[in-house]
Chain length 371, copies 2
């Protein structure tokens, strides 16, 4: 089935820093050669979580060994709780014990947690070793594996520590999504749809039309939708690697998502679900601020709802939301660069204080926004 491989290039300034994202169906067993070529590594440390490692690590390892790469597997506990500094430190130890040097690649086999954690370790071990992403969730395929953001959580907030460290290759096989729980599949689709919502109306409308076929893992539909979604992200990252400008738009839905995740203790809600709620909130807020035409939020709410995701924010007290918003890392001084929709397929940012992002419930005083 490797004929179904599609490729997107993430173009970056600087010698040898551009890299391909290859998306296919049934391509996991071909990863080894691609990794060998992209990294020139002689060894690879595979970082994964138990269920994914059990199912897919042996195939990846066979493929790497066939390409002449010695492998070592490091399995970390599943879940966002593994994205912390203690785990980073354990990974350093495991790599030192394996004798990992600068010609050792770190290969993240898993979802966003594994990619962010392994990526930060790859960024900081010996001040940086080659890194490859083999994403096994929708979320990781279209979002977290592309763009070089790596990092871990600290008790004060999500991703407050990290690095920009671009992978040498992203190798995505949509066939592995067959063993992903349906809830995670749906949650991951949110970020793919988001790219359409903020920058490509046609893609958004293809999701509106083909969402159920995508969720049922029709390989042709899935490879096509995910490739277009990745292409949008790649284009944004190419233009603005360090999030000084347009890349901020990718945070659509994330301001409230981070707050929801923080207030829920990162447990009960999946990242994509939180982003879905945050997108609905941000779209409604865009309308309330007279920035988007009426009906915009309804379409966002419609597609998020079809994913089986709650469209209302959890009912934490307003003061809890405000406090969570105040540590949001996108904050420059007192303002948050809040991402709004101008319409489906076009986003923008407005500087809002936390109190403007999360105003008192309607019926109280009038909202004002600085332009």
């Amino acid at each position: 089935m490797s004929s179904r491989v599609r490729s997107v290039r993430v173009g970056l300034a600087g010698k040898d820093r551009s890299y391909p994202v290859r998306i296919g169906a049934g391509t996991l067993d071909d990863a080894g050669d691609a990794i060998a070529q992209a990294t020139k590594a002689t060894r690879a440390v595979i970082v994964s979580v138990p269920p994914v490692a059990r199912r897919y690590a042996p195939r990846l390892e066979r493929s790497l060994r066939a390409a002449g790469i010695r492998t070592h597997r490091i399995v970390v506990p599943d879940g966002d709780a593994s994205k912390n500094l203690a785990q980073v430190s354990k990974l350093y130890d495991a790599m030192l014990e394996f004798g990992a040097d600068r010609s050792t690649a770190v290969v993240a086999l898993g979802g966003g947690v594994v990619g962010d954690l392994a990526g930060f370790v790859a960024a900081s071990y010996l001040r940086g070793v080659p890194f490859v992403q083999v994403p096994t969730t929708v979320l990781a395929m279209v979002d977290s594996s592309v763009g070089g953001k790596t990092g871990v959580n600290v008790p004060q907030g999500k991703n407050l520590v990290g690095a920009f460290h671009q992978p040498r290759l992203v190798w995505a096989d949509v066939d592995v999504l067959g063993t992903l729980p349906a809830r995670q599949r749906a949650a991951g689709m949110v970020e793919a749809i988001k790219h359409g919502a903020i920058l490509d109306r046609a893609l958004f409308e293809r999701f509106e039309r083909d969402l159920e076929r995508a969720l049922d893992l029709d390989p042709t539909v899935l490879v096509s939708l995910l490739t277009r979604s990745v292409a949008i992200k790649a284009e944004v990252v190419s233009q603005d690697e360090r999030e000084a400008g347009i890349r901020t738009l990718l945070n659509f839905g994330h301001t409230l998502a981070h707050a929801v995740e923080k207030l829920s203790g990162y447990q009960k809600v999946l990242h994509g679900e939180a982003v879905g709620m945050g997108m609905v909130y941000a779209a409604r807020h865009s309308e309330a601020l007279d920035l988007a035409p009426a009906g915009t939020a309804e379409r966002i709410e419609g597609i998020v709802g079809r994913l089986g995701i709650e469209t209302e924010l959890p009912s934490f007290p307003r003061r809890a939301y405000l406090s969570a918003l105040r540590v949001d890392k996108k904050r420059t001084e007192a303002h948050i660069r809040f991402v709004v929709l101008r319409r489906i397929g076009a986003a923008d940012t407005v500087p809002l204080t936390p109190a403007e992002v999360y105003p008192p419930r309607p019926g109280s005083k009038k909202r004002r926004v600085r332009r």
Copy 2:
């Protein structure tokens, strides 16, 4: 005395990544304006160690405040033992408590330990915030503050974790060296001399001539020698930021230095002293391998000796040296890229195994080297 300011530009590829190193005498009180201009920061976190903070932080803070920058001081325990992940974590906490955001600069006020530690925190806090070095030791002025290497130690070895994160500005006032213990001043001079030994015979010879005046802190001699030394390092870093080629030459003396520091537990020997011993060893080894003319090592030994530094390696067992060399981070597979002198002012690398780097004492079997 600010008329004595000399400037070296570290030219790097990429937008706004080049930065100046400014070396002067009596210029500490002018740092604030320069930092404001280089970082556009509205706040600054000053990281320092007790004796330096007591003496110089108030002047730096006054200068920053006069430039409109709000300051917060974080003092870490003195010594290499502070360069660890636990301290990094504490710094993140202190910065979060101060409300540090992306427009907050991290200013390292101190020597190499403070610069490496604060630099790694600046590299990884919110995936990177503006960083400024205000070095207060000779070592930091000519070496560790320039080039963007940041990092911490782990129990298995020195600087095995870190990041490349270039400062926006290096601001060095040689007047502060007056309160630096003489032993540290001498040790730091080793790295300055090293730049001459590997790449600039004329600079090496100026050190041979003016060493005592430099150690006595004659400002004219010192500013001139340190500026030339920094210019060499800046040139090397500009050509090879990530140590893929010529930058390796800066490791002259460091292979054995790292082993000595590791075996001594990083306590009894200063980094510059270890490098001095390592340079003498490497120069002798260059002669033994018929790579450098006779007399080369004698000159290295001569100048290191005049600094009051022991020129013989500590007498740990050979197996201890071999074991320490095996975790040296410059190792690619089985070989170390060992830096040798071809003559004073010209260095080169040869791939050597740990056993070839540290062969059995003379009189036993013949040494062989792969070219």
